[in-house]
Structure formats: structure tokens, C-alpha cells
């Protein structure tokens, strides 16, 4: 399910890791039409993967099927990517439960660190029983 208006596009997928490919394909289309550089494209793709796997892993009971919407809003030199889902309250930025341990990188905990490194702003809100997680990337 895709929709487009000026500078604002969205796609809705299921909470299944396999659906990350649909988000990538959506980004691919956008990157072509916006003429994004490879560096910006790679950062956005990485941010999408890291965010999606976090939401799928932590915002839902394992065997329940839910929608996750991803909206991309584009203005001059700025891209906002917003993820919206109706899972249990889950703030990816609240990483107190999971810290990155340099000696135990095989245990994970790297995702949110990567997201913070490659995007310029991150915000989380709980609105109307929904998780709303927004990432902003500035570029020239």
C-alpha cells in the first residue's frame, strides 16, 4: 500500500523481517526520483533496517500480525522518516535495557548506536496508542 503527495510518501508493511525488503524497494524508488547521493542513500537504508528490526523485535508479541507504516517526508536538504505502529509502547531511544558492550558485540545492542550516528535527529512519541518514531537526516 503506497501513497504519494507532494514531498510526502508512505508505505505500510507487516511486522515481519521479510517485509524490510519492501521498505528498501520504497527507498530505492525515492532515491531515484530525488537523486540522492550514494552516501545519503546508504545511511537512510541502514537507518531503516536498524529501526525496523527494533520495532519488529520489541513492539509486538511474536505471533501477532500488525501494520507498520513508514512515511518519508522530503524538503530541501532534509529527509524525515517516520515509523508508526500500534504495538506496545516501545521507545527505541530508551536503550537503558540494552547497552553496547565492546567485548560482547556478538550479543547485539548496536542498532540504536548506529541510528544515532547516521541520522541528525531522533524522536519518539506515544500518540493515540501508537508508537511514532521519527528520524531526520540533513544533507547538502
Amino acid at each position: 500500500m503506497n501513497s504519494t503527495d507532494k514531498g510526502n510518501r508512505s508505505i505500510t508493511v507487516r511486522n515481519s523481517l521479510a517485509d524490510c525488503d519492501k521498505l528498501f524497494a520504497f527507498l530505492d524508488q525515492l532515491a531515484d526520483s530525488l537523486g540522492l547521493t550514494e552516501d545519503i542513500y546508504n545511511d537512510l537504508k541502514l537507518a531503516i533496517d536498524e529501526t525496523f528490526v527494533n520495532i519488529v523485535s520489541y513492539a509486538f508479541d511474536e505471533d501477532s500480525s500488525h501494520d507498520i507504516a513508514m512515511k518519508i517526508h522530503h524538503t530541501d536538504h532534509r529527509i524525515d522518516i517516520t515509523f508508526i505502529d500500534n504495538g506496545i509502547a516501545f521507545d527505541p531511544l530508551n536503550d537503558s535495557h540494552k547497552t553496547m558492550d565492546q567485548d560482547n558485540l556478538d550479543k547485539g545492542g548496536m542498532g540504536i548506536h548506529i541510528i544515532r550516528s547516521i541520522t541528525d535527529e531522533q524522536s519518539y512519541e506515544r500518540i493515540d496508542q501508537r508508537n511514532v518514531f521519527r528520524l531526520t537526516k540533513h544533507y547538502t
Binding site: C20, D21, N42, D49, V53, M110, G111, I114
Partner: protein, 124 residues
């Protein structure tokens, strides 16, 4: 995007795992399966060849670090070669390159291996 994995013998008792495409949250389990089947304490060195890899996320990194742990525990060498800039960047973000053997290309890795062999010979 998909991931393709090719495993070939490497000098002595080693194995080279060449990965192509996208190593992401969706494809990382495939690599984990191959590693589980192919890499154990008798393998030395383990070489991960990133030459054809276009994309890497933290799910893929976890598999890489799990493999490194197997090699660290067995005293085997763990070598990374042919990292493209966007792949290297992900390692750099999590500051994981310190203490790892990373080579920009095959020549650099061959030089290292030759130097290691000379050291062994000198020690004999």
C-alpha cells in the same frame, strides 16, 4: 535484496567465506547457518571476503562478531578483506576495527600471511 554466500578452502586448514549482496536483518540468518555448518575450532584462518557486499547492518555484524569469538576461543586467525567504504563505515561507527585484522585488498592480506609464515619459519 538477497545475499549469496560462497565458501572456498583457504591455505592450510582455512576457509574463505565470500559474501555478496546485502547482509541485513533479513539475510543475516542465512550467513549464520553457513557459519554454523562450516566454521569450528579446527578451521584456521577464517577469511570473510566483503568484495561483493553492498550493504551491512547490525544484524550482519552480530554474525561476524560471533564468528570472531569462535576463532578467538580456538586461537585461530580471523581476517576481513575487501571492505567497501560503506561497509567499513558501519564497522567504524561501532569502533570495532581496533584489534581486528582488516585488509583493504587481497595483496595486503597475502603480505600479512607471508609475513606470518616467515615468523613461524624463523621460530623453527
Amino acid at each position: 535484496m538477497s545475499l549469496s554466500i560462497t565458501i572456498t578452502p583457504e591455505s592450510d586448514h582455512g576457509k574463505r567465506i565470500s559474501i555478496a549482496g546485502s547482509l541485513d536483518s533479513n539475510t543475516a540468518p542465512q550467513l549464520q547457518q553457513s557459519i554454523d555448518a562450516e566454521i569450528n575450532e579446527t578451521v584456521n584462518p577464517t577469511v570473510i571476503d566483503f568484495k561483493e557486499l553492498d550493504f551491512l547492518s547490525s544484524a550482519g555484524l552480530r554474525v561476524i562478531f560471533k564468528t570472531k569469538k569462535i576463532m578467538d576461543n580456538s586461537g585461530g586467525r580471523f581476517l576481513l578483506v575487501n571492505l567497501q567504504p560503506q561497509i567499513k563505515k558501519v564497522f567504524e561507527i561501532i569502533k570495532a576495527l581496533d584489534g581486528m585484522h582488516v585488509f583493504k585488498d587481497q595483496d595486503e592480506m597475502d603480505e600479512y600471511l607471508a609475513a606470518m609464515q616467515n615468523k613461524v619459519k624463523e621460530g623453527e
